[in-house]
Amino acid sequence: MPWFNSNFFDEVKPNENTIFNDTYFEINPCKISLAEFIFFEENLSRFEFVSDVSSPIYCFGRISSGNEGSTLKIGSNFLVSALIIFFLLSTLISKTPLLNKPLAINNTYVSSLFFTSIFVIGLILADSKYYNSTIFYFLNQSLLISFGYLTLFIFLILNILVNNYEINKRVLINYLPFLFLFSGLVSKSNLNIWLVIFIYFGFHHIRENKKPHFLNIYLFLIFFWAINASTTFVKIPTTFLGFTSTSYDFYSTILYSICLYIAFCGVKFLIINQLKYFKLSELLNNFYIVILCKLLIHYLANQSNIIKFIFEYLFGEINTNNLNSNSFFVLNKELIFLVSILSVYQSFIKKHLNIKTLGILIYFFLNITNYFSEINNSIDNYKEFLISYNPTFLEFIIGSGPLNLNQFLSETGFDINNTTISSLSSMIIFFGMLGCLIFSILYIYFITSKKYGFFEKFFGSLLIFSFLEGSGLNNISFFVIYLVLFYIMKDNYLSKNFFSNN
């Protein structure tokens, strides 16, 4: 529907004979809708469609300008995009079943909403260099009233999420795979609706629970990371939008370090309150649905530029450079490997191999050579990372702060567009040797503890391998799912409750 937005009473009325060249759109910016263009243009395949984040509200869904006749910019205003993505995700959330007993969120939720809104504004301010460089037309950033408006806007949409869509009464834990289908990213901004929701849960968790022991150490680390960020680094274009800072400076380092902690608390809050509703079979069913949907989206996006544009707007970035039978597997190998591990684990516990598990395993084994060649690539990328990585002594020990790759990418010649960066590399950049040491101690404890059986240790190790090799620390979807699986494994929840849950 938003792509039909147009003024049908103005003097610009395209028809079958209209020639859509770049002069036409220079003379008539924001005059015709995308739908009108599709209807009257015969050869759509010669055009490429891109979002124009610098367009105003009234221009949403209209062609804002043409560039050399082949690239068309479609108005994708930030506020309207935020509303569309928000209502899309909210509708999805409203389809999930209700809890027997609502989450421990009482009427004092307003303060959490308020803190969330303020914190999200802080994150937007921390990314101001990115928003200025890409000329975001969401408001005039120099005016205080603009930020007042944005705070009110975020406060209202969160309020609607809580009041109208009743997010605190929904069983969400089994529906987390949908985080992989809907990226939650608003237009080309660094704002992710999923992250905002987890920040909201995080504030609840902080309000209602005692301070954890490691918080003081974490605050101490934030102090050092912030002191270390004396030089500003901005690396654009940014990879991993939605769960990473777009600039490395004092302010961003503090805000994004706190952001990671609050998001962590948010996921923990969800796990604590919803673990008893967790069903591995339901989680896996949703994973299968998501993989099938992604496959369909990948196929359709490769058929038409216009479908690709609309799907990218709704679901997040889609890679369509190479359409062959292997490309989907290569692009989603981490997700498919994760689902395969969980499916096999379920089959081991149930001692029964169902058709869906068989399907995913056949698909995985058909692509096993691709998987190992990708693992080889990852190892090469990791070697390249180690060659490029050149930290100071302090950075080597404690890292340079979470969710921030700008310093590393600016100081080194590491080409992130062609060389993927794994969670292991990110962990070294973010937390240094201290982080790696703590992670190793936790893993050794897991392997040597008598609390866990052989299967838990084996599948847990595979999950840890998948986490370190993949993008669990750079992507909100993987971050959430790995954290949920970590808590489930830690408490031995599956072995203890599997049969009662199924």
Partner: protein
């Protein structure tokens, strides 16, 4: 709202086109080298200025809007009203039940 520089550009000459008459009113002369600029206030009323001095005078006096900016502010207001209405409607519905 926009700045003087954004709307009027930069002053090129030292000559002043601003006079004050005996009653204390401003009288602006036309600058032949200045391209006419249309300005708007927040109520969408409009005027045309013919010199940098006149443009600066009106922009500082609140005529610092453009038609597009007025439409944008109006659209933003509509969004806030719609979101607030959704909440109010829900609350009324909630208390009724």
């Amino acid at each position: 709202m926009y700045s003087v520089e954004w709307l009027c550009g930069v002053k090129n000459s030292q000559q002043s086109y601003k006079n004050i008459d005996l009653n204390g009113n401003f009288i602006f002369e036309n600058d032949p080298n200045f391209t006419d600029i249309q300005l708007w206030d927040r109520l969408n009323r409009t005027l045309v200025v013919n010199s940098f001095d006149e443009c600066e005078h009106y922009v500082l006096g609140g005529w610092s809007y453009t038609q597009n900016l007025n439409i944008e502010h109006f659209s933003q207001l509509v969004i806030i009203i719609l979101l607030s209405s959704m909440l109010v409607f829900r609350r009324k519905h909630f208390f009724k039940n």
